[in-house]
């Protein structure tokens, strides 16, 4: 396997909340419960909740270290990102993360966290080992979603109020382009080959398609669905499908990345926001904030095969080893 392919594979594992899974272990999913101040741990194989982990006040954004040993979650009411030991299932430290942190992304090697700072209208690079901010750049107003490209070179930060995506170069850490996308952009997902990025726009009811190399918006996919408010987005490991949670639409939109058209909508729980895929892409999980549960979708069958109770205000989800 070429080095580039290895890097891409490692990136996908990290961005999809995966890591190297020890032999014999079951994949576990971690769900942040915004108003319960805890993480629900779900065994994806048995489709049952197996533990809860108290983490601190208002956990939302999630990330996993490449080795799966550490789970990170943004604590909005503590101005910190909590570090959870996934084996011990307890918080082992907290990283200062500015006012009201919501979303962040890990670099492919897990050494850095890239976070948006909503009150300061900036994005920061945090050294995980040193637990401190090492660089910061101004972005648009109300920065929100953060995503890292498969090769780790680009960090995309959405800004909700200015409807922009700031394209940040990793080293040196600086904004190299700003793209105008549909109204109130929330999250971004890259295709596994890194050629495209899909950006959800909640008020625009659309997904902006970005050509990563050209740093340009090349298309807009509108969700012609009453009440659809696109929020979470993930791309299947085979690169052929993108999945978008529609918030108050209570569905997941399935997009053909070849044609950039919506193929179908899958009904899930109420107000799905966070999304995560299992490593093989077989199962898609949605964190449903109002119904306080997780829908598990069989991506081949295109339907929900299980619903697992989570906590109050289920917000984000990642899938581990």
């Amino acid at each position: 396997m070429k080095r580039g392919t290895l890097v891409a594979a490692a990136w996908w594992a990290v961005s999809a909340g995966l890591a190297v899974r020890p032999a014999g272990a079951q994949p576990l999913a971690y769900v942040s419960n915004e108003w319960a101040n805890e993480i629900t741990v779900i065994d994806v194989a048995t489709k049952t909740a197996v533990a809860t982990i108290p983490v601190g006040k208002r956990p939302r954004g999630l990330g996993l270290s490449p080795d799966g040993h550490h789970l990170y979650t943004a604590l909005g009411s503590e101005d910190a990102i909590a570090i959870v030991d996934t084996a011990e299932r307890k918080v082992i430290g907290k990283i200062p993360a500015g006012s009201d942190p919501e979303m962040f992304a890990l670099s492919p090697d897990g050494s850095r966290i890239y976070a948006s700072n909503e009150d300061a209208n900036s994005a920061s690079a945090i050294d995980v080992r040193a637990r401190r901010v090492i660089a910061s750049v101004p972005v648009g107003i109300e920065p929100e979603g953060v995503a890292v490209s498969p090769d780790g070179k680009w960090i995309y930060v959405t800004s909700e109020s200015t409807h922009t995506v700031s394209v940040i170069q990793n080293r040196p850490f600086k904004v190299v382009a700003t793209l105008l996308v549909a109204s109130r952009p929330r999250e971004t997902a890259f295709t596994p080959d890194g050629s495209r990025a899909y950006v959800t726009a909640e008020i625009g009811g659309a997904i902006s398609v970005i050509d990563v190399r050209k740093k340009a918006v090349i298309g807009t996919i509108r969700l012609e669905r009453e009440g659809a408010r696109p929020k979470g987005v993930v791309v299947h490991p085979n690169g052929k499908r993108a999945y978008v949670s529609t918030g108050s639409g209570n569905e997941v939109a399935v997009i053909d990345t070849e044609t950039d058209r919506v193929l179908t909508y899958i009904p899930v729980g109420r107000r799905p926001w966070g999304l995560a895929l299992t490593r093989d892409g077989r199962f898609l999980l949605t964190a449903n904030g109002v119904s306080e549960d997780v829908s598990i979708i069989d991506t081949e069958a295109g339907r929900v095969v299980a619903t697992v109770a989570a906590g109050k205000g289920a917000w984000g989800v990642v899938v581990g080893p």
Binding site: A120, G140, I141, H163, G204
Partner: protein, 403 residues
Amino acid sequence: MKPRGHRHPETQAGALSRRRFLFGGLSAGLLADRPGRADLRIALLNPPGPLAPSILRGAKMGITEADSLAQMFGKRIELALPSVPGPERLASVASDLLKGGVTVLVGGGDEPAAEVLREVAREGRALFLNVGSVSDRMRMERCDRHTFHLHASLQMYVGAAGFWLVEEKKLRRWAVLTESDEVRRAVIALAEARGATLVEDALAVSGTSDWRPPLERLRAAAPEALWLGLRAGDVPGFLQQYAQAGLAGELVGLTPDAVGLPKLDGAALSGVWPLMWHHTLEKYSARDLNSRHRRRFAEPLDGASWSSWAAFKLVGEALLRAGTTPQAILEYFESDPPFDGHKGRPLTFRKRDHQLRQPMYLAQASKAPPGESDASPVEVIAEVPRGDLDAIFLPPRDEGCSI
């Protein structure tokens, strides 16, 4: 890096320190001497009035954010803040601004000012964005294609409360107490549209201290709900006597803005008050918007501030997505772009009258202990409507506007 939120708040009397406000107070003529410096010039015409301070704060925040966005794409928006000592000078100042290259006029703190600006914009083929007048006449028989209304109409205030009375409270026997013909017409029209019965239509005499005559009529009519369209100064006395009279009807108070809410504590304030924004809203990033405003001005964001902020934000987006000419911006607004006003839903202009569709909020006396209500006598109890935003409008009438 110093976070933006750490700057000292700007008070109402504070200096306009940012460069983009250097034109504040300059005449339109001086602005005309600086051609080619901005991609878009927009003017706030804000004569003295109850809403003027709120409108100014919203404009300052809006232009900062709109220009910040424009600069990301190598463009600039410039705000002109001419001095408008009174309504009699408004038309000439506005006309001079258009001659000087301004293409969008923002203002309309009351109906007369809004009428003047609508007319100037129409004649000059510019745009007027109304951020203060609730006048239904402006949206109906006096509508114009070059005028867009960011501020909610009286019909929307009445419609929001009426929706709540009928759909939530199931109250259909209404009375109205007001000296305003426009309020009376709106309530009567809504009663007809919603299947309610108006059992008493009492005329209020502004400045009175004795409310016994209308209260006796209300007692006899026994409405389930009373619409109150009084001047702010008359409200405290009426509420006190209404409570003493022991009448049971649900009170619905109408005020053009939170600015007009009677200055009463929770114990003395009764009834439900429809508002278009409130500084305690949190959902849909309302908290972020409220927080930005409070950090900058040390004042709560109210409805007029919201309208004004929204006007500049919309124009800033139009500049990038459509162009700089009035016609391009007009056509953009008419193309149903989903505007994000931090109200959780895409907001669009109605084609028939250019009124921005938006959810309204119902507030009542705050139940928080004194000192914990964030300087607000009220708290929001409902967002109306939850579904179709057209549900708070009246059915179109023959004499209505059709742009």
